[in-house]
């Protein structure tokens, strides 16, 4: 493929490269105890939460940034990062969408988030997080009728403090790792979902994120709790505008599933990946963990990751309850100079637990991608079962794919299976499709979709289409 065509594709490839010029109410750059207090005050938080944050901040000061991942990036200067930024809203919170800043609504319009009648027809409730503050949350009433709580994390701190106190940090403790500790100190907002006993959440829950002001770290915190026999399907999708400076995104997501409960968490991630020379782009260092606390609990993580300059995340499951199930379905795409070190951890603790890992990695351009997976079977985990399938697809000759499977089995009745394949998208395959009348792009999409089929099948239908489009955009110009 000629350089001209590649350049054309790349220029148009990132659609969401623009920003709203809303005046942001931001903290001064850098992080100290004052910044933490500033954030807590802005959100009107109770004393116990401020203390929690300060505990985390003080511990963070003693920690060192981890360096073991297969990724290479310039050192983050925390003194230059702005840790809190919110769009300026009227003093009183908006009582209806009419009161929300019209520029904000325009933002959502562009991102394709329907915050009005259309959303009702689609049956999708949206909790839109703009920078560090949640704006309108729709369908609170409909969900309230079902007994479902779906609101911003900040709201939950005020309206359901007992639940936050009970579950916050129960899956990802403050001191888990460098980034979770940082997040615990400065987290801005996120989603809180609570499904009471026996309730099947009547609609897909969704949230959108956006990093706007320059140098703003996005530290969202999400907590989802499904009580006995409850079910919820939650979708997280992100877009971000073009920036020159790298932006840090260190989120924490905790899932708790009690007896017979099921949580399905799907992510379609499209953060700005940096330009073709690796400049700019988001650093996505996320800790996501699900605890199958009760018997027969089930947690599934499904992700389609196409963005970020550097991705470092391992959505994991702790299978504590007997017969609990953990699943991880992933498609990770890297192009140009993106880097990813991603995978999952399945920790089997209870009896007869099962885990399934299906990881599809697509590398293109000069990108580098690593799958890192841990399957740990504890001594008391009788009858544990794991199936792992780890496939890599290489496009072109300058990309890389690596696999680091860790398997630790301490119980003799366990069965662990691991399969891995590596293949290349060949010129022959592309030519074959072209000879049948398909354009080169269509050919690549066809082949890539075939490769990713198993994972797409796991996504909620409405978002499977978006994911496929996203994949197509990410791989434009990748074959050459």
């Amino acid at each position: 493929m000629s350089n001209e065509t590649v350049d054309e594709h790349l220029k148009k490839s990132y659609e969401f490269g623009w920003s709203t010029d809303i005046e942001a109410d931001a903290a001064p750059p850098g992080l100290d105890e004052e910044t933490v207090r500033f954030i807590s005050k802005k959100k009107n938080e109770p004393e116990w939460l401020l203390e929690w944050r300060l505990k985390a901040y003080r511990h963070w000061l003693t920690m060192k940034e981890p360096k073991w991942a297969e990724v290479d990036y310039p050192k983050i200067n925390y003194d230059e990062v702005i840790f809190y930024s919110a769009p300026k809203l009227a003093e009183d919170a908006p009582k209806s969408l009419d009161e929300v800043d019209p520029k904000l609504l325009e933002t959502y319009e562009k991102l394709g988030i329907p915050l009005h009648e259309r959303a009702a027809l689609a049956g999708v409730a949206v909790d839109a997080v703009f920078d560090s503050v949640s704006v309108a949350t729709t369908f609170k009433d409909t969900l309230a009728a079902a007994g479902v709580i779906f609101c911003s994390f900040s709201e939950a701190v005020h309206d359901h403090p007992e639940l936050i106190k009970k579950y916050l940090g129960s899956v990802v403790p403050i001191y888990d790792n460098y980034y979770t500790t940082l997040n615990s100190a400065v987290f801005s907002d996120g989603s809180f979902v609570f499904i009471p006993k026996g309730v099947r959440c009547p609609m897909e829950l969704s949230t959108y994120f956006r990093i706007n002001a320059a140098n703003t770290g996005q530290f969202e915190r999400t907590l989802i709790v499904a009580e006995e026999g409850a079910y919820v399907s939650y979708l997280e999708g992100c877009t971000a505008p073009m920036r020159d400076e790298n932006q840090l995104h260190a989120a924490v997501v905790e899932l708790v599933a009690l007896d017979d409960a099921e949580i399905k968490y799907s992510t379609v991630q499209n953060w700005y990946p940096g330009d073709e020379n690796g400049k700019g782009g988001i650093y996505n260092f996320v800790t996501k963990r699900g605890l199958c606390k009760g018997r027969n609990a089930k947690i599934s993580w499904t992700q389609v990751e196409t963005g970020s300059a550097v991705t470092w995340k391992y959505p994991s499951c702790i299978l504590k309850g007997d017969n609990s199930i953990g699943e991880f379905y992933s498609i990770a795409v890297t192009n140009n100079l993106q880097q990813a070190d991603t995978g999952t951890k399945m920790v089997h603790i209870g009896k007869n637990t099962r885990s399934t890992i299906i990881s599809k990695g697509i590398s293109a351009g000069r990108s580098n991608q690593s799958y890192r997976g841990l399957v740990r079977i504890n001594p008391k985990a009788e009858g544990a079962r794991n199936y792992t399938q780890c496939d890599s697809l290489l496009m072109g000759d300058t990309c890389g794919a690596h696999t680091f499977p860790y398997i630790e089995v301490k119980n003799q009745s366990a069965k662990v299976e691991h399969e891995a394949t590596t293949s290349k998208v060949g010129d022959d395959q592309i030519f074959y499709c072209r000879q049948r009348g398909m354009s080169e792009e269509d050919a690549v999409n066809l082949i890539v979709n075939g490769f990713c089929k198993e994972v797409f099948r796991q996504l909620p239908m409405e978002f499977a289409v978006e994911a496929q489009k996203l994949l197509a955009v990410s791989l434009e110009g990748a074959v050459g």
Binding site: D428, Q429, F431, C433, R434, Q435, G437, D442, G450, K453
Partner: protein, 248 residues
């Protein structure tokens, strides 16, 4: 339909086609035979637009348009089909889905609406019946795990589904047993009429018993050295390329 004039082409530094002339009119079936290395597959690849081959001279016009200027997918959409000698595997891509995508790409080019699911399935069923193919074929991944014969049959299925005006069959008979050969020929003949032309590239006379050509050409060292009717194939079968190879 297809006019080729003094076509010269090479791959890397090796000249393979050295001034090939060929003229195929609508409704005609031409066979090309020749010794190994004569350029038969190169001709097929150059016509289809394979980028690894460089055209160094000559022209090729298809339905009045400059074929060599067109991208491979446009050549296909104009009505040129190549049945590959070594069909490619596409893991994860269902046969049925592949066909539907290809058909709709053609239809879009012609300004037509995509084929509806019902019509598509009907057409698929009918063509699979002609080729005596098992119903399970449609769900299998394109050529994955197919035997040689199944792959060739799949090429002909695509031929029938896409209905090209000019089909180039690149050694479609290689690796086929008599029954498979018969079925493949049945498929080709099914399409044969005033509006369809075929360029059949083959080593052996055997296929030409079933797909009876209007013209037979002998390709030696990148040029067509002799042309005749179907009896020429029989002559080659009896005497080999010997003299003709010398003539080149």
């Amino acid at each position: 339909m297809l006019e080729i004039n003094q076509l010269a082409a090479r791959i890397e530094k090796t000249e393979i086609l050295k001034g090939l002339n060929l003229s195929i009119k609508p409704g005609e079936v031409h066979a090309i035979m020749g010794p190994n290395g004569s350029g038969k597959s190169t001709l097929a690849s150059v016509l289809a637009g394979r980028e690894s081959y460089e055209v160094t001279g000559g022209t090729a016009t298809f339905r009045g348009k400059d074929l060599l200027e067109m991208d491979p997918e446009d050549r296909a959409r104009e009505g040129l089909f190549l049945a590959f000698q070594y069909p490619i595997e596409l893991p994860g891509v269902g046969n049925s889905y592949f066909l539907k995508t290809a058909i709709n790409a053609h239809r879009k080019y012609r300004g037509e609406d995509p084929l509806d699911a019902y019509e598509f399935l009907k057409m698929l069923k009918e063509n699979m019946k002609v080729l005596e193919m098992d119903a399970t074929f449609k769900n299998r991944f394109v050529n994955v795990g197919f035997s040689g014969g199944e792959k060739k049959r799949n090429e002909i299925l695509q031929l029938l589904m896409l209905n090209p005006t000019m089909a180039v069959l690149d050694e479609t008979d290689s690796g086929l047993d008599i029954d498979a050969l018969r079925v493949v020929a049945k498929g080709v003949n099914h399409l044969r009429d005033q509006n369809h032309s075929f360029l059949v590239i083959t080593h052996y006379q055997r296929l030409l018993d079933y797909i009876v050509p209007d013209y037979v050409h002998v390709l030696v060292d990148g040029k067509i050295v002799r042309s005749g009717d179907k009896s020429l194939a029989l002559e080659l079968e009896a005497h080999g390329y010997g003299d003709l190879a010398q003539t080149a």
